[in-house]
Amino acid sequence: MTKIRPEHQSIVVRFAGDSGDGVQLLGAQFAESTALAGADFATFPDFPAEIRAPVGTTFGVSAFQINLGARRIATAGDAPDVLVAFNPAALKVNLPLLPKGALVILNTDEFNERNFAKANIRADPRETGALADYQVIEIPIKALTLEAVKDSGLSRRDAERCKNFWALGAILWMFGRDRAPMEAWINRKFAKAPDVLAGNLAALHAGHAYAETAELSAEIPQFEIGAAPMSPGDYRSITGAEALALGLAAAGELADKPVLFCSYPITPASPLLHHLSRMGDLGVATFQAEDEIAAACAAIGASYGGAIGVTSSSGPGIALKTEAIGLAIAAELPLVVVNSQRGGPSTGLPTKTEQSDLYQAVYGRNADAPVPVIAAAGPGDCFDAAIEATRVALRHMTPVFLLTDGYIANAAGPWAIPDMADYEPILHNAPPQAPDSDDPADLKRAIWARDPESLGRPWVAPGMKGLAHRIGGLEKDIETGDISYEAANHQAMTELRARKVASVAKFIRPQEVEQGPERGPLAVVGWGSTHGVIWRAVEAARKEGLDAAQIHLRWLNPLPDNLGALLRGYERVLLPEMNMGQCATLLRDRLEIGVIPLNKVSGQPFKIAEILDAIRAHYPAAARTPKPAAVGAAQ
């Protein structure tokens, strides 16, 4: 049979089932096999807030989407070309996402009256015509799995749980992927449970064999997605949380300081805690505090003690840390605050993504209390963002916000493994010599002698000989650090804190244009996790003949010095963000630049088509040249 080569050399596959069906594991392993085949990919795990919602319900549906391609992949894809649905609820929830003609693989064992009722489906969708626009393949995955693993010694319940590996086997065949690395992984992962290991292996092989040889197999298509054109080098698959953890460890190594990560469990930030807790050999320790406040305070205590204090949470937890962050600002101590943003307000949408904590990071503290804010653009970029955030925290002796989000934290993609030799050491302002003087004022001045460029003070930690001094949250004298309620001094200190954060702009790269012209009719400005989707949308627009540009912001506070002039070079600026216009406010506030906002707060990432449509809609009519439109929608 001939293999299908998708039009855009890429294909979007979505696995959906109960949160207990193991679709996240299935997806992650399929991504791994994709990576090993050299294809590019991006994943999007989309899971419910409930750990184990009632079986068969729509709100318990967990999904994993992967876009894989023999070309550069920028997003997890707008719409699935292939849906694997393990039960009626999964079909019901995901059907609206599918374009006409999509391939739907159903686990028919679960298509019964009981499950229709649980999913609030009145009639079997296979018989109502609801699936008329799709290619449907019906497979009794559960029954075939039970049959395949019957010799493994597993209970029926455990045997059933092997069905994600059965599906993995089938999908590996569909994409012509090698089974050996998956076998090796199963052997490693389940070494301590031989019966589970045997069951999973049997299911994997059975699924593969079924797809290859079963009578039905004429209907099961095979796809050809070859290797993607990537720069030569070594790659691995990485999620944002993993990259961030490694980045913090790397920052510690580059600074030659211990990293103390203090955190309290919260979705979707906890994976960072989990990854770091396994990095003890890299000079990292994790402290699970009693609450968010204690986590921030312990991290500041660690920084005071000469380690790199890091705290992490999501919006609601960051809110609790706010007062402590103010103390780190006042005491001029380094701190990295990671916010894996999620939908809000309040508990909001814990497992869904949003970019709505930008105000919180830039403006969200009592008093004039500025902090630098950096946002990671994607999973791999979390590594560099962590190093950069730490570098700024130590150089300027200030808390730094590092914004990521639920999407970046859990999404994976191939990552060119960086060479640590390419990174400059992270420096800080060294402690002074204890002055040879009986006048306490001399010691105080030495301790508060700030670097004229960065305004960072020397990092003096308890235990350092002859430098004992007192710090705190009360306003302090700008020269001696003594408590001061003096009016002019508070004015001077407030201005100093503002200048210190502004000075970060002197050390960061000027804003560059990612694609498109440096002046022109329309720039699409983004920040954070929208990088990939904007990249693809602008690329598609350019292929249509629209001379659009992409500009992606990394530092949000301060903004790069050249950003204002750069943005004024465009007739219009379109700003897609997953909030109600927070970065738009920031640009208006800081640069007096008005933008066209494109806001989405559905808990789901942008689709390429949504941004492309906005580019088309807002592209100045006068700038349109009569060029033939070449390519249609892409993903």
């Binding site: 990576a35 090993l36 050299g38 690395p181 290797a227 990537m230 030569p232 080098g233 070594d234 790659y235 691995r236 698959s237 490694l246 460890a249 510690g252 190594e253 300081k257 211990p258 990293v259 103390l260 203090c262 990095m279 003890g280 050999d281 890299l282 000079g283 320790a285 505090a289 009693e290 406040i293 204690a294 305070c297 312990a298 991290a299 500041i300 205590g301 660690a302 005071y304 003690g305 000469g306 380690a307 204090g309 402590a324 103390l327 005491a331 493994i417 060479d419 640590m420 306490p440 930690a461 308890p462 235990g463 004992a468 001094h469 007192r470 710090i471 705190g472 949250g473 009360l474 003594d482």
Partner: protein
């Protein structure tokens, strides 16, 4: 060789700004003397505090010091000890700071057994915010925020500590410098979280709230200084505490002629948490107030010891990030 430091060497150049007659002055003196007595190294000593009158303490001790935010001193101290376990860390807090806004952090620092000394100055009132009732105020306390008298039951700091799993619990009185000094030394010698409640007189907002047992003329009868291995006697030995197995309670008994033999009197066992519970629950004025080291559990590893287990010093690196980047599956894209 330099001369050993004296209490004066632990005074800073800052003007002390507590109200005249405040019990904090006496505590400051006792602490400074203790630091001299134990040969503390100012470069390795840190006072960490939260917010409140007591929390101004670090500004007046010539060592390292960190005046943090309300209630959170134990959390800062924990992070500091994890970063540098060699430091000698003292947490100074009050009844509002440590038991109201910061109750949670105190609970966890105690149960984790972080090796710090926690000095809780209890004056049963909010001083710095001008006199509102606190979580240790007795029912009926009239204050600007409770003009008709407070109605909430107070918490006992030491019973809270015992419930939290503290392994060292002691009590002292601000003005009893000698006894307080001995108690502080014992707290310092303990490896783990050492909790010391200090009855501190707020001369402005809650004057003499403890006078029923701190006044010189009643002290003998109203205080019992407990010492491990010694009988629980007070009133110059004329009275003692004995255990009634029928009621499972302590009783005050006259000792000697006309009273019970001294062998009936309980001997203090500071390792017994049940006895600690009884000593800390004695109602006044029928019973004396127990002072000194009430509970000291057998040695257990301090939290920061376990935290860095297997590593010689914080942040010691056995591996390199360059290698960690390659953990798991790595594939190579060849040129061309």
């Amino acid at each position: 060789m330099t001369a050993p430091l004296t209490a004066k060497d632990f005074a800073t150049d800052q003007e002390v700004r507590w109200c005249p007659g405040c019990g904090d002055y006496a505590i400051l003196k006792a602490v400074q003397k203790t630091l001299a007595d134990i040969g503390a190294n100012p470069d390795e000593t840190v006072f960490v505090s939260g917010i409140g009158c007591s929390s101004r303490f670090p500004y007046y001790v010539k060592s390292y010091g960190f005046h943090t935010i309300h209630g959170r001193a134990p959390a800062f101290a924990t992070g500091l000890k994890l970063a540098n376990p060699d430091l000698d860390v003292w947490v100074v807090t009050g009844d509002g700071d440590g038991l109201s806004i910061g109750g949670n952090h105190l609970l966890h620092a105690l149960r984790r057994n972080v090796n710090v000394q926690v000095l809780l100055f209890n004056n049963e009132i909010y001083g710095l915010t001008k006199g509102q009732y606190s979580p240790t105020s007795r029912i009926g306390t009239r204050s600007p925020s409770s003009p008709k008298g407070s109605i909430d039951a107070p918490v006992s700091p030491c019973l809270f500590a015992l419930g939290a799993g503290a392994k060292f619990i002691a009590r002292g009185i601000d003005t009893d410098a000698k006894h307080l000094g001995e108690t502080l030394k014992a707290a310092h010698a303990f490896e783990g979280a050492a909790f010391v409640e200090i009855f501190q007189n707020c001369i402005v907002y809650n004057a003499d709230v403890f006078s029923s047992f701190t006044e010189k003329k009643v002290a003998d009868d109203a205080q019992i200084h407990v010492e491990h291995g010694k009988p629980l006697l007070f009133a110059k030995g004329a009275k003692g505490l004995r255990f009634n197995p029928q009621t499972f309670r302590l009783e005050v008994a006259a000792v000697g002629e006309g009273g019970v033999p001294q062998t009936d009197i309980l001997v203090h066992d500071e390792t017994n948490p049940a006895l600690a519970q009884l000593l800390l629950s004695m109602p006044q004025p029928d019973f004396p107030v127990a002072l000194g080291v009430i509970y000291r559990a057998p040695a257990a590893a301090a939290f920061e010891k376990g935290f860095w287990a297997g590593r010689a010093r914080p942040g010691e690196r056995a591996g390199r990030v360059a290698d960690a980047l390659r953990r798991g599956s790595v594939w190579t894209k060849k040129a061309g």
